[in-house]
Symmetry: C2
Subunit: 343 residues, 2 copies
Amino acid sequence: MPPTPYVVIDTDIVDDNIARMAEAARAHGQRLRPHYKTHKLHEIADRQRAAGATSASVATIGEAEVFDKVGDLFIAYPLNASPAAAARINALRSRVILGIDSVETAARWGSSGLSTSTSFAIEVDSGHHRSGVPPHEVRPVAEALDKAGFQLMGLFTFPGHSYAPDAPRKAADDEAIALQSARAELGRDDLVLSGGSTPSAVYADAEIIDEIRPGVYVFNDAQQLELGTCTEEQIALKIRTTVVSRREDLHQVIVDAGSKIVGSDRPGWTTGYARVAKHPEARVPALSEHHGTVTFPEKSALPAIGEELEIIPNHVCPVLNLVDTVRTTAGETWEVAARGKNG
Amino acid sequence: MPPTPYVVIDTDIVDDNIARMAEAARAHGQRLRPHYKTHKLHEIADRQRAAGATSASVATIGEAEVFDKVGDLFIAYPLNASPAAAARINALRSRVILGIDSVETAARWGSSGLSTSTSFAIEVDSGHHRSGVPPHEVRPVAEALDKAGFQLMGLFTFPGHSYAPDAPRKAADDEAIALQSARAELGRDDLVLSGGSTPSAVYADAEIIDEIRPGVYVFNDAQQLELGTCTEEQIALKIRTTVVSRREDLHQVIVDAGSKIVGSDRPGWTTGYARVAKHPEARVPALSEHHGTVTFPEKSALPAIGEELEIIPNHVCPVLNLVDTVRTTAGETWEVAARGKNG
C-alpha cells in the first residue's frame, strides 16, 4: 500500500452505480451521456461504455483529446473560440458537439477554421445562473450558428441549483420547462434536449428530456449522501488516511488527508468539509492543506493515533484532479489519464 | 502561450517578496525557514536560498524527497511513525527535523528503525486548535522522545488563527506566549522557538521567536490582499483566464478558470472565491470546476467574450498543487516538482 493519504475506489460499488443509472435512463427512454470530468479515468469510461453509454460529456478540449476513442463526445461547455482551439477540435477523430451560449462565439467559430462537420448545442440557463442564455434568448445564437455554417443539434442545461436540500425535484422541473421553452422559441422539434445533474437525473422528465449527463453518480460523495441521493454503501471512492494527532480536550483527531487531496468544496448546507466512513457521528469542521480536523461527540471514544480512517469527500470531482493514480479494491493502480486537463 | 486557464508567475515580484521577507527576518535577528509547500518549485527554492534562507520547511516526506538538496529540512508536521516512513527519512541526505505532538508517536518512532541522528521539534497549539499540544502538556512528549533516544531541538507552532481580519498581531502574541510557556515548562533555554505564518511573521516577537516559517509570502494571494498583508502590486502569481460567457442582465461574466485551477478555499471573511487583477470592483461569488462567476457593479461595463483576465486566487498553495507547469513573465516554463506529494 502507498503511504496515506491515498484514494481507493471500490470497483464493485462503481459497477453497481453504473448499472443503476444505466437502468434508470433505459426505463425513461433517455440517452445516458455520462460526464467524464468526474472520473477522468479510462477504466471507468470503459465500464460506462460496456454498460451501454456509447456517448460521453467532457468539460474541456484537453479531456476530449484524452477520451477521443469514445466516438461521440459532447464538450458541454461554452468554449473560447479561437483558431488554436479549432485546430485541436478538428484533429479529434470522434464525432464532436460543442456547447455555445453567445452570438459572439458563434461568429468567432465561423472565422476560426473549425470544421463545419462540428455540431453545436446551445446552453440554456434553467435557474443555476452560471453560463447559458435565458430560454427566450436562444434565437439569436441559433441564427448566428446558422450564419456561420454550423449545424445546431440540441439544447442543453446544467440544473446546478439541484445541489441543495429538497432542491433536486424542483431543479428537474425547471430544467424541463427551460429546455422545452427554448425549443418552442426555435420551433424545432428535432432538437435534442439534454439535461441532468446527479441529484436531479432521476427526476428528469421522461416526456421532455432526451438525454441526461450526470457525472458524480459513478462514485457518489458526501454531498450526495447529505442530499439523500445515495446511501453510504453506494459511495465508491474514499480517501484512506491516518490519525496523526489527537486531542481528548477538544474531542478531535487530526488526519493526514487535507485539502490537497480532499478538495475544499464546502457549500453552506453541508455538515462540514467531508464525512468519515463508518463514523456517521463524526464531523469535519476544518481542513488545511495536510490536516483534516475530525470531531466526535463529547462522550464517544476517539480513534487512536496511527489508526486508519476513510474520508468521504464532499465533492468527488476535484479529488480525481488532485491525484496521479488511484488504488482499487481489486488491487489495481489506475493512472488518472485526464488529471489537470483544464484547457 | 498555452490555452487558458494557466498560471503565470511574475519573477520580479517574487524576487521583491523574497528580499523583503529576508530583510525583515534579518532585522529581527530571526532565521527564515520558508515553507516550500506553498510553491513546490525548485526555481523558487533556489531563489530563497540565494537570498540567505539555507534551511526550509516542508509538510510531507514526499516534499522532503523532492527538496533533499537543501541540506536542512524541517518536516513541520506530526508525521505518522512507521518503519516505512523511517526508511524514507533515513534515506534523505539532508539534516532532518521532524514535528511531533504525542507520546504515542515518540514511542512508535523509537521502534521504527528511524536513525537517532533525526532530531525533533514538538508542536505546540498556540490557539489555532489544529495539531499540537497545549503548552503545559509538552513535558510527557519530551520525555517520551528522550526515552526513545531522540534529540529534542525545538518547539514550533502554526498560529493559523492569524487568518482573519485584525487577527495577525494577536496571533503573533499568542504564538510568543505559547512557545515561551512551553519552553519554561521544560526549563530548557537551548530549544529553538519556531513560529510564523505569512500574516503574523512580521509581528513575530524578536525577543522570543528564533525562527519564522512563512510560505505564502513568495507569491501572496487574495487572502493576504484582503487581510492587508500585501498590496495588489506584491501579488506574484495569477491565473490567466478567458471570458467565455456574459450576461448583462446578471452583471456577470463567466471565465474559464474554475476550482480545478483556482482551488475552492473560501473563508467566511473573504469577499468571494478569488479577486480579479486590475478590477477591484469585481467579485467572484461562485466557482464551479471550470466556471468562475465574476460579477461587476450594476453600472460598470462588462468585459467582452474572448477578453483575457487575471484571477488572484484566495489561497495560492493549493493552486501550485493543481498544475504540472507554470509560465513565468520571463518566458520560462517551470515544472511543479512537488505537485501531489501528499505522503
